[in-house]
Symmetry: C2
């Protein structure tokens, strides 16, 4: 995972668009040097940046064959469909990749490696299948051990799933590193794991072991970092994913929460990655209150900053919305991709500074 | 599952004691007609009732061989160790049972059927392995559909795990049936599934699908019942199991909560079924507030009754504690096993009556 020699073709057939191809876009934004092409025959001839705003001139191509000339050696499934199965139309492409002896990287709930036909094809052609959602072989229950680490632990929470929690945390990590702070990124979802090269897809872990799985990652990361940034998942108000959210919250035992929101979204995304089919979104205040309250059942945490995803809002309105939210919440709020993550990083450094001061006096 | 022809030997070697052998005791209380013996060599010659207070004269024996004369044809694993693996000392007994062509019923997290050696032994001797925790093959995410059913849905919640949620719900089911109410019991844990003959062990379900798995059970049960009683798991304050608890709450979308508590317990049970190794237990008021608040993130619910497990408290003190709690909470509170579940059943019937009246006027 994440080895620089990887030359990735991202499979996003029929879905290479903003808000649809979350995994593809994550890779393009944070590991563009590893990506040689995106496959979506609807847009062959275009570029990544033209389609989704990131990835520069990385070409969009129509077939797997077209990526061969570009030196691809890895096929990466670039979407996360609800339900988590391989769309039937993509199966031939996966088979072709394995027949070429490539590595196939998948974050689908249904493990490709458990498909006897795909597994056999991989074996006979020297291909490999990497199911990044596959839970660790050894799992234990959470015991709030992450509350004991010296590092400052921060978790991204939000008003919905798919609002930019992973992105916020990755941007904050970069900003902290620029300030000389040793900041770890703990990946908890498929895209994060593909970017980080490690992590656990907590939503695939048996529910008894969700908090235990994240606890172990946080404790390990805390050993050699000043700040541990945990990728969040879902929201407590979401009828599909609230269990994952609470398991993360009680497993990582953060002191600090980053409240994430997709500006303009008004309804929860249910049953798909669309944002317009569910009950009303919780307000920022309601989301903050819910997550702080739920955290306190095991270990108190406070929202120290807000991260807005404003990609589809004009800039002046986006800036104004961040300012309004900062005023209302009493914490810094910004779009870390658009306006920089320094203010968010500084809120964590300030909290850490107060802790350290408190300890030494 | 639950077929009357079963003749069960319960394996509880080294653990046949109150609070340790939860599964064994559940079977002995609710399906004694199916149990021919309990295996615990420490107490061979004793009876179930003498050891754990239920199961009458069902004998405790020291070996699997001793159960053969009693006509056993099923070996049922009678404990649920934290971590969920088969204690090594029990493996020979499981092997013996399979070699006799018996059925082995297990609720362990580690599936016996996935053990190549045990699976092979079963195949070659005509034995069968039933892993009741194995998640359904087909899973979907929860979409709050259980909030739409006509039946009254009630969920048992509590101050900790292992406080008597399943028992409370089973006693309420019996009481409702005595009143002519069609009441379903939806099992969500291994023991409940063994008793009911169906259900889903939600803690073994990948966390993304916890709410979806319980939603489907509730919707199905609601089709031909007036009241759907859902077995609860864990508590929102528990660092190991809160994710399971919230998934159940948001998947079953109850209107009514039954607040369960083991009288006298002061600390959360962490890492084992013991009750003395964790942080302080939430108060009844705190547990009520947390569960009502968390329910409201998806669908509002209220605590309508309290169920105390008072087995290790003298009767006058137990009665007084129930009365005090009823006064403090403003809802009926009793020990349904010791003092009867009618008052709890009546609180549900009253809520259902108010609903029905509300609809027709």
């Amino acid at each position: 995972m994440g080895a620089p020699s990887r030359r990735i073709a991202i499979l996003a057939e029929g879905h290479f668009a903003p808000m649809e191809a979350k995994t593809a876009i994550g890779l393009l934004r944070y590991r563009p040097e590893q990506v040689v092409a995106v496959i979506d025959s609807r847009h062959a001839g275009s570029t990544a940046k033209a389609r989704v705003g990131v990835g520069g001139t990385i070409p969009v191509v129509g077939t797997l064959d077209a990526t061969v000339a570009l030196g691809a050696d890895t096929l990466l499934i670039g979407i996360a469909p609800a339900g988590g199965r391989l769309p039937p139309a993509w199966r031939p492409l996966v088979e072709q990749a394995l027949e070429r002896g490539w590595r196939v990287v998948s974050g689908l709930h249904t493990f490709l490696g458990d498909d006897p036909e795909l597994a056999a094809r991989a074996r006979s052609h020297g291909g490999t299948i990497e199911d990044v959602r596959r839970p660790p072989a050894s799992l234990g229950v959470g015991l709030a051990r992450a509350a004991q680490v010296d590092a400052l632990v921060a978790l991204a929470v939000g008003t919905d799933c798919n609002v930019g929690k992973m992105t916020a945390v990755l941007e904050i990590q970069r900003a902290l590193e620029r300030h000389g702070v040793r900041a770890a990124f703990v990946a908890t979802g498929q895209t994060g794991i593909m970017i980080a090269g490690s992590g656990v897809a907590v939503d695939a872990v048996p529910s008894d072991f969700v908090s235990g799985a994240i606890e172990r990652l946080v404790v390990d990361a805390a050993a050699d970092h000043d700040v541990v940034l945990v990728e969040g998942q879902g929201t407590l108000h979401h009828p599909s994913f609230s269990a994952v959210t609470l398991g993360l919250l009680h497993g990582s035992c953060p002191e600090a929460l980053i409240l994430c929101h997709h500006l303009g979204r008004t309804r929860l995304a249910l049953g798909s990655d669309r944002d317009d089919d569910g009950p009303p979104l919780p307000s920022l205040a309601a989301a903050r209150e819910a997550h702080e309250r739920a955290a306190a059942w095991v270990r108190p945490a406070i929202v120290v900053a807000g991260a807005f995803n404003t990609w589809d809002t004009p800039e002046p309105a986006a800036r104004a919305a961040c300012e309004d939210a900062a005023e209302a919440l009493g914490v810094p709020v910004t779009d870390p991709v658009r306006f920089g993550a320094d203010v968010l990083a500084e809120s964590l450094m300030a909290l850490r500074g107060r802790r350290t001061t408190g300890r030494t006096t």
